[in-house]
């Protein structure tokens, strides 16, 4: 029996999410009143670091974490579940005999913390028998005592449960009044209170907030049923994201509303109801080659899968071979300096600094100050995503700051930073991109996604599909998925809209590693056109 069985989340689509439900469920509001004193955290961290050094560690870091989550799940007119969880503890990572070791505990007495640090050293010593190349860390200057927090306006943990329930139930009514027969809506609120200390003199206190409010609506028709998910994004923001400000809406004539840094869930749910009715009546796509215009809430996932994952250095090197796989973007391609990943207008960058993004933190989980760097420049592969112990393998001596762990309990490792497509320097709109397309399909929202273990062949669906004829969005269509090859796809990228259209999408539960850990990551882009892409029809008679 799994822990998540205790806390059942019903509803369509929810079962496929990886919910990190664990820890101590309490009133999150109460917990906010008494966070652990920073001076005490420093004292505990020093105990861990000293104990590790005394046992022979040449490097040690300690992460003291308190992770608060709140989940509110509703279905049609009722609330399915309200869950508050809290998980607190310490994780200690060491290098001894040139080998990593890790141990963690929820028991934060000084004695237990010291013993945990010693256990981490024991693990390192035991594993060092297998070690063929000692760990080499890129230098990091100790930060001294510093702090960072997500710039939120309304702490979602402090918003009364009633307000959250009312908002979700209003969205449910809006969807049902406009054509949906069923709807599940959920609010996820996450607060990571993380303290990092290392033997190099860093003491970093961070308060990280994230939020996501997805919904899953269904309409039943004469010949079956259709589904439509919400077009809101998971974000590194407070409850202000759900204010639904007019200035953050981008209206695409004849299609959907795109949301920037504020989401109107009730408006989106009402639109979902209407669009579901249209989906039930929509014609099935004629398979063939089309020019695709992809909205940011859709393209974010294509970026995630076809650029984010293949450029994770641990995948490239083979550390993920037994699970997620390896990568086509091998070191020889990067070293050539000529590998044409995309057309010369494709510029993809990585960062953990964009405001409102899920990856936004001051320092990563090994104390590296976060930054922005290029991955693909003018279409050429120029860099990867790496941590302190990896950058030397790509002839660099500065970590990219990509270390993350989902909790105090798990060891930190290389995770994807935000990976985003730079907007067009010319500030053209989404409709400017659409107007030049003769025969195309406009796709909004993330749907089915699948890609091979080296990230060549992919197939993506979406939430909403519209036929484009002679520069105009005409009919809503159905059963669309496109199949392509990563390099071919990005080399067919011919136009992207400007910064006024730039929006962040994201993945709240991105899985990687064994045992698997989740992380949250954003991808920014503007509405973008890809020419001559193979579209298949996904309808089937059974």
């Amino acid at each position: 029996m799994q822990r998540r069985d205790f806390i059942k989340l019903g509803g369509v689509g929810v079962g496929s999410l990886m919910l990190p439900i664990s820890g101590i469920a309490v009133s999150a509001e109460q917990l906010l009143d008494k966070p652990m004193d920073v001076a005490y955290k420093k004292k505990l961290a020093d105990i861990a670091l000293n104990a590790a050094k005394a046992k022979g560690a040449t490097y040690a870091d300690a992460r003291i974490g308190r992770y608060l989550n709140q989940f509110v799940t509703t279905r049609e007119t009722r609330v399915d579940n309200i869950v508050n969880t809290e998980s607190a503890g310490i994780g200690v990572r060491v290098i001894a005999n040139g080998t990593w070791g890790f141990a963690s505990t929820s028991n934060m007495t000084p004695d237990s913390v010291a013993k945990t640090a010693e256990k981490a050293v024991e693990v390192a010593m035991a594993n060092s028998k297998f070690q063929t190349s000692p760990v080499k860390l890129a230098p990091v200057k100790g930060t001294g005592e510093v702090s960072w927090n997500t710039p939120i306006k309304k702490n979602a943990m402090q918003v009364p449960i009633k307000d959250k329930v009312d908002l979700l139930l209003s969205a449910n009514s809006a969807a049902m009044e406009n054509g949906a027969n069923y709807i599940t809506s959920i609010l996820f609120v996450v607060n990571e209170q993380k303290y990092f200390a290392s033997t190099e003199g860093s003491y970093i206190d961070q308060d990280v907030h994230r939020l996501w409010a997805p919904f899953y609506a269904t309409a039943i028709g004469e010949n079956g049923f259709k589904q439509r998910q919400g077009l809101g994004n998971p974000v590194g923001m407070g409850f202000e994201y759900l204010d639904g400000l007019e200035e953050d809406k981008i209206r695409i004539q004849g299609a959907n509303v795109g949301y920037k840094n504020s989401y109107d869930i009730v408006e989106d749910a009402a639109a979902a109801g209407k669009q579901l009715k249209a989906k039930l009546a929509a014609k099935s796509v004629e398979p063939g080659k089309y020019d695709l215009v992809l909205d940011p809430a859709h393209l974010m996932l294509t970026i995630h899968e076809s650029v984010g994952h293949p450029l994770e250095l641990d995948r490239v090197l083979g550390y993920e071979a037994n699970y997620a796989g390896t990568s086509f973007a091998t070191l020889d391609k990067w070293r050539s300096g000529k590998f044409q990943y995309g057309s010369d207008m494709v510029n993809l960058f990585a960062d953990k600094t964009q405001p409102y993004s899920l990856g936004n933190v001051g320092y990563d989980d090994e104390g590296v100050k976060t930054k922005e760097w290029d991955l693909i420049k003018d279409g050429i592969l120029v860099n990867y995503q790496a941590t302190r112990d990896q950058v030397h393998m790509i002839d660099q001596n500065e970590s990219h700051g990509c270390s993350y762990s989902q909790s105090w309990r798990d060891v930190q490792f290389q995770r994807m930073p935000n990976v985003s497509l730079r907007p067009n320097k010319k500030d053209i709109s989404a409709e400017d991109v659409i107007k030049d397309v003769e025969k195309g399909i406009y796709i909004a929202g993330r749907g089915s996604f699948s890609i091979d273990q080296q990230r060549y062949n992919f197939q993506f669906g979406g939430q909403l599909f519209y036929e484009i004829k002679d520069g105009k969005i005409v009919d809503q269509i159905e059963d669309v998925a496109y199949q392509s090859n990563t390099q071919e796809f990005w080399n067919n990228c011919v136009q992207t809209a400007g910064k006024s259209d730039y929006r962040l999408g994201g993945s709240f539960f991105d899985g990687k590693g064994q045992p698997s850990q989740v992380s949250a990551v954003s991808h920014g882009c503007s509405t973008t056109r890809f020419n001559n892409i193979n579209v298949i029809n996904t309808a089937r008679n059974v």
């Binding site: 469920a25 049923f225 699948s450 890609i451 062949n457 197939q459």
Partner: protein
Amino acid sequence: MTMISQDTAKKLLTKVLAFSKADECAVGLEGKTAGNIRYARNTVSTAGEESDVELFVQSTFGKRTGVATINEFDDVSLEKVVRRSEELAKLAPENEEYMPLFGKQSYLESKTHSPNTAKVTPADRAAAAEASIVPSKKNKLVASGFLEDEETFTAIMNSKGLFAYNTSTNVDFSVTIRTEDGKGSGWVTRNYTDVSQLDTAKASQIAIQKAMGSVDGKELEPGKYTVILEPAASVTLLENMARNFDQRSADEGRSFLSKKVKDGEEGPTNKLGEKMFDERVNIYSDPQDPTAPTAPFSWDGYPRKRTDWVKNGVITNMFNSPYWAKKTKTEYIPRGGNLIMTGGSESLEDMIKNTRRGILVTRLWYIRSLDPQTLLYTGLTRDGTFYIEDGKIKYPIKNFRFNESPIIMLNNIEALGKPQRIDGNMIPPMKIRDFTFSSLSDAV
């Protein structure tokens, strides 16, 4: 405090229940001790041990319910967690679908625990990894693997007199072995209750053979082919299909098991009793399966018994909730903890011998739903895809993307082999005709 005996759990939960002031209260304990080792590039990358126990309290006043959990067990903490769940219950809106807790139940004997697995040490794990790495190195191959063993317990008690307790062990092993030039890749997985059945050296030989045999796969045209799906290739498709055996979704018209009733007419709203698959298809759940047992009770303390989902190709049962069972005047059928599909006596090797032309698929990867109405899924072959001709593996082939539905698959059965344990289930290798591959992948 990690593993707690039945007596100690009973005493502790009785003490927790005594603090309750709610109309109804359910409490539970869940504990886990687990260890793992991970290796890549022929060397250990990470290893760790984890242990934790959580106490779960669900309090209900009328139809308002709150949930809280804690992992401290002093008297003050025990009372605190009960009060917190009661506070949350008072904040929650009424749930008209709330159903009263079950009273005392009796359960089948549990077969889920092996003392051997509970005794695994870090040295055992290291030795198991070494047994996989050494032969890989010897063959100039690169091994990346993962071994995880765990011992867990669950105890549930409620204010209506229910008490359930179970201990369980599990060991999972998988390894991907690749050629140094990355042109060949093989994989194998093993999953047992009793770790003494695990032989990582023997299992790794399969991945080694597949890695060396899969170098320079030939391109075949995408299209419909007869395939032999190893159990690891079909298990996710079957699990996904089983997840859709929800009576409520079917009755609500949003499932492949929904039946359209014409306006104004009465009739069944789901396909219970309909023949949907080849008559050789038999799928059930059984907590006492000798090879892949599961806990004898569901998460809510309701007893699990053998439940047929598909019998001779006919939809025989669907799972539901106590609320939906009452509303539709049917029996409450909880989800099964495992999936047992019957097969024949042929081994995988026999099935290959008896195939004139076909494709052997080791595993399918990145499986995602395309249409919940037809259960159409997409995904890719991975780590060992071979062309079979005249009863022999002829040559390796490049990986394919597939777009296929298990409904179609289970109607196109040519042969079923001897079931094997995979991910806690029993699944036979299957020979399927007209399996749809839609495009080629360059991935190895």
